[in-house]
């Protein structure tokens, strides 16, 4: 009874540092309404809801029930999913499982976060082991800094290389009306000038060596929603559905010190599984666009190596050669990516949704200037678990 499944609708709110005009439920409602409108469906058409955020950011532990005014989930089956940074991609995967199982035809997947409502660093520390790691580590930045520090040491990477990733994503964000950080001062300047400005700016302070302000994502308030539909109804809802070709997820081990820092092991394994499922041998050539969960600049070098777009230490060459820019061979993060908006529980939903609209041809100013047949979306959870989704224009066999 397994069914093929596709994304047939996507909606999101504009990211901002603080949505003072709405509460969380109301913000969710905006995204759900946008997704329903995109698919030209009503809430009565939805068979089930999957929703996710990270409990500690808002102090709401029963979001499945709490959010029904916004989700439209009254008297529907609702499941809450929380997997840290990957929450949004896991929400999407879980909605896909609902449809692929054959049990539901139209499933709403919602991710949201109001990071402005608490202390993001204080909440993120609850993702570290209380006995062995919390006493001498804090928040998200430190862990990523340790990763970056090792990567720079191993491959002779410089802060200019990191800044190159930031510049790509933030320039792309200028094409995305929903992006949180739209840095208008960057518009029209060339890449090398922008890199020079970032690495020489005194205002661009170092937070944790080697990471400066410009190497990190913002903390964002936003919500996003996707609608998944089974093969029985997908093509009647969307003219061009974005079919789910493969999903993969890997977790490894909890303590920071036990990880293999020479690569992102979970992202590598999940990517490899997804590529095998679809028959992709040369990801750089065969994938048309990526929306990658890159929460800090150096991930845009190191993790694209782990995915298999290039060999170890070669990520910066791809960046400087423009291979990952909008007109390059494998454009990455046309939306501006996580470096431009990070409403944590929604971030993965946005990755999947932005990948889907490239296939559906609905990406507006950030639409690629070519036919997008295969799009990749990833999710990252710290410390270091990974989700991978591949979407396609052609219905899978």
């Amino acid at each position: 009874m397994g069914k093929r499944a596709a994304i047939v609708g996507f909606g999101q709110t504009k990211g901002s540092s603080s949505r003072k005009d709405v509460n969380g439920i109301e913000m969710i409602h905006e995204a759900v309404s946008a997704a329903l409108a995109d698919a030209e469906l009503g809430i009565e058409d939805i068979d089930a809801v999957v929703i996710g955020n990270m409990d500690h950011f808002e102090g709401i532990n029963y979001v499945d029930m709490w959010s029904v005014e916004g989700s439209g989930g009254v008297m529907k089956p609702i499941i809450k999913v929380t997997t840290g940074g990957t929450t949004g991609t896991t929400v999407a995967m879980c909605a896909y499982y609902h449809v692929a199982s054959g049990l539901f035809d139209r499933v709403l997947a919602i991710g949201w976060e109001k990071n402005s409502e608490s202390d993001t660093t204080g909440a993120i520390i609850t993702a570290y082991d209380p006995i062995w790691e919390r006493p001498n580590m804090a928040g998200a930045i430190g862990g990523l800094a340790v990763d970056a520090s090792r990567y720079m040491h191993d491959h002779g990477v410089t802060e200019r290389d990191g800044a190159r990733v930031t510049v790509r994503d933030r320039l792309n964000a200028l094409n995305n009306p929903y992006a949180h950080l739209r840095q208008e001062w960057m518009r029209g300047k060339d890449v090398a000038t922008l890199v020079d400005l970032l690495v020489s700016s005194e205002e661009n302070q170092v937070l944790a060596y080697p990471l400066r302000m410009s190497d990190l994502c913002p903390r964002t308030d936003a919500a996003a929603a996707l609608i998944f539909a089974s093969e029985d109804v997908a093509e009647t809802i969307a003219p061009v559905p974005a079919w789910v070709l493969a999903v993969a997820n890997r977790h490894n081990t909890v303590y920071y010190g036990d990880l293999d820092w020479s690569l992102n092991e979970t992202l590598e394994a999940a990517s490899r599984q997804a590529f095998a499922k679809v028959g992709i041998r040369e990801p750089l050539k065969e994938i048309d666009v990526c929306e990658l969960y890159l929460p800090y600049s150096y991930a845009g070098l190191a993790w694209i190596e782990s995915i298999g777009f290039c060999g170890p230490g070669e990520g910066r060459r791809l960046l400087w050669d423009g291979v990952t820019d909008m007109d390059g061979e494998i454009p990455m993060n046309p939306s501006g990516g996580v470096m431009s908006s990070n409403p944590i529980g929604a971030t993965g939903v946005i990755r999947v949704g932005e990948a889907a609209i490239q296939i559906m041809g609905k990406a507006g100013l950030r639409q690629l200037n070519r036919d997008v047949k295969i799009a990749m979306a990833t999710g990252f959870g710290g410390c270091y678990w990974a989700d991978v989704l591949l979407l396609g224009k052609n219905k899978p066999l």
Binding site: G59, I131, P135, V146, Y209, G257
Partner: protein, 149 residues
Amino acid sequence: MKDAKPTCEGRIKVPYKWFVGETGSRFFAALRDRCEIWGTRCSRCNKVYVPPVKNCWGCFQPLDEWVPVSDSGVVESFTVARCPDAMFGLDPPVVYGLIRLGKASGSLLHYIGEARPEEVKVGMRVKAVFADRRSGNILDIKYFAPVRE
């Protein structure tokens, strides 16, 4: 709208106590009482775990062999936290990193002390400095200090 209350404040404080378990307790007792660092070893894959684990996560089998591990090792990576944070009991800059001790397979996450931030490098040798008053937790190691040749 002008008179509306824009936010409602919450000050939820939920105290926790986390049980260390028998395996972790044995590690902390040796650390507290004798300033010794011990790991658990898997007989199947030969991994030596510091911090110790009760079950090998690779082989999924229980570990009952304890091995002493050197209190000196190598900095595998590090960062320098420049901003104050309530989570730290220390004033910035705070240097911490991953320290691979002796024959341990993985690293221990801990502070690096007695070194200026710009002196710290990947590959640097460091040695544990123990707290004078030890109470059976990971901060019984005060920090790791550079081994000056």
